[in-house]
Amino acid sequence: MRKGKAGFIFLAPSFLGTLIFVLLPFMDVVKRSFMTAITKEGAGMHNYRIIFTNSAFLLAVKNTLRFALVCIPLLVMLGLAIALAMGSIRHMQAVKSLYLFPLAMPTAAVAVVWKMVFYERGFLNKYLERFCTHFGMGMETVDYIGSGAAFYVLAGTYLWKNLGFTVVLWLAGIMGVNGDVMEAAKVDGAGGLQRFWYVLLPDLKGSLYIIVVISFLNSFKIYREAYLAAGAYPHESIYMLQHLFNNWFVNLDLDKMAAAAVACGLFFLAFIMLLQGLWDKGTDG
């Protein structure tokens, strides 16, 4: 490690840009969150009171949290399960590439296909009905994007898109685990489950951290698919913070936006700090 000015100089362009494009304007946003949008008078906590009694905001928060709490753990665990299973199969490289492929699919193309599959007269209903009539059951068709089912369509899209990457990251983590320790545990008579729990898992904490971080980042990008397939005002089961911010922006509700940005920013800050604290504890101890 080197002390001195060189580090500063290497960092300077990036830090300056961050200052100009992110930090200073965000302070302005904090200031604005305590003011009225038009007259610029001090309004105290008024804006915050408004957003926390605003039903759209509460709905959006609820949906965003629900999406994250359902999808991220599911993605992380499913990814680990597949990665563990994949270690033992043939043609692993090719299968891995295919799993990764949705990452390269342009969002807009995905949206076109989703309309064909999930609209009321789309493929899913078509084959479901065929299936049901074959077995003599009745069925009602559903528009999967315009109803409560949209949440699951979106959750499925998120898994479909990110599963491959998660698997690859887990696989890389598993490959990095010290093989000798695993072998030694096997010789000492540890069963498969024990080896997994006491040897493999503790070694994967670094991977877990990075996978959670990336899954979290990507969970917000699901807005792209949601917006393209269902527009700015989708069914209320998938009306998320991203939609709300965008609609506020379009309607120039800047004071509400400022208060919500600060509130959400604080929440994410707390979450990230928690995650980092857990990671530090996990890797040091």
């Binding site: 490690m1 060189a6 992110v22 609209y119 209903n125 917006y227």
Partner: protein, 298 residues
């Protein structure tokens, strides 16, 4: 004698079971692959269909009348018409394609220029508040665009950049995600290598250029690959900051096509798909390496 024969038999059964288990596992693991392929097959076949065939097949979906969607995996009259029209008769498409290339290229080049030195600074040097600044970078990396939307707007508006492509490019250049990824790659370089270069009299800039960049290649290329896939699909920023449609990237153009012209949409989707697939195939190996470094703590 009999005992060993029994043992061999049992072993054989066991290995047979293992093979069966493996086949079952492979079958289960292949299933999601089918899910991956369906959209691609639909896009590619759709792009070869004539206008009438598409209209007939898709009208139930978009008008809600008639039966269900109709789709032939082999088009009745395969045609290149869609591609031909899109590429030669719609100048708009070209403009937007070029917009996408330009914005993605500028963002990635800018990230290289700004982000790599920053990652190098965090990985190699100690300076005041280095830990605090790095934590700040991680926090910023994880903040969703929506939280930053208003602050971005305020600064872009003040700089007079709204409704120019710089409004999309500049904030993305200072994204801290590539810094985080490159940092992991640079951390892998042993300190002794740098120290011996210093003893031989190399300056700090030379060390960065001659040792840091080649040895940190994995991290850099993975940041670039992820960056390309991300910025090729850019949607939120142009939607908010670009009002003129002629400045839009391709990712916003596709949804503008009405279903009566579905053939264009499919052909355009296939063409949009080509660059990311190319980049993906080239950068696939780096995707894993670089990110894994980021998870390791030095």
């Amino acid at each position: 004698m009999k005992g060993s024969w029994e043992l061999a038999k049992r072993k054989k059964i066991k290995s047979g079971l293992n093979t069966a288990k493996r086949y079952l596992l492979e079958t289960i693991l292949i299933c999601p692959v089918v899910m991956v392929c369906i959209p691609i097959v639909l896009l590619i076949t759709g792009a070869f269909m004539g206008r009438d065939e598409l209209r007939e097949g898709l009208s139930p979906v978009f008008t809600g009348m008639g039966g269900y969607i109709q789709w032939n995996l082999m088009p009745d009259y395969p045609t290149f018409e869609n591609y031909k029209r899109l590429l030669f008769e719609m100048p708009q498409f070209f403009v937007l394609f070029w917009n996408s290339v330009k914005m993605t290229g500028c963002i990635l080049a800018g990230q290289c220029l700004v982000g790599m030195p920053a990652a190098w600074a965090f990985a190699v040097y100690r300076f005041r508040f280095d830990k605090a600044v790095f934590t700040l970078y991680v926090v910023l990396m994880l903040m969703p665009f929506q939280v930053m939307m208003l602050s971005n707007y305020l600064v872009l508006d003040r700089l007079g950049l709204m409704d120019t492509q710089w409004a999309v490019i500049l904030p993305a250049v200072f994204s801290t995600f590539p810094v985080f990824i490159c940092y992991g790659g640079f951390r892998q370089i042993p300190g002794a290598v740098l120290e011996s270069a210093r003893i031989d009299g190399a300056g700090e800039l030379l060390i960065f250029y001659k040792i840091g960049l080649p040895l940190g290649k994995g991290g850099i290329l993975s940041a670039m690959t992820l960056g390309f896939l991300e910025y090729w699909n850019l949607m939120e920023q142009p939607l908010a900051f670009l009002e003129s449609k002629r400045l839009w990237p391709l990712s916003l153009y596709l949804p503008e096509i009405t279903w009566e012209q579905a053939g264009y949409a499919f052909a355009a989707s296939v063409i949009t798909l080509i660059p990311p697939v190319f980049v993906f195939l080239m950068g696939q190996d780096y995707l894993e390496q670089g990110i894994v470094y980021a998870g390791l703590k030095g």
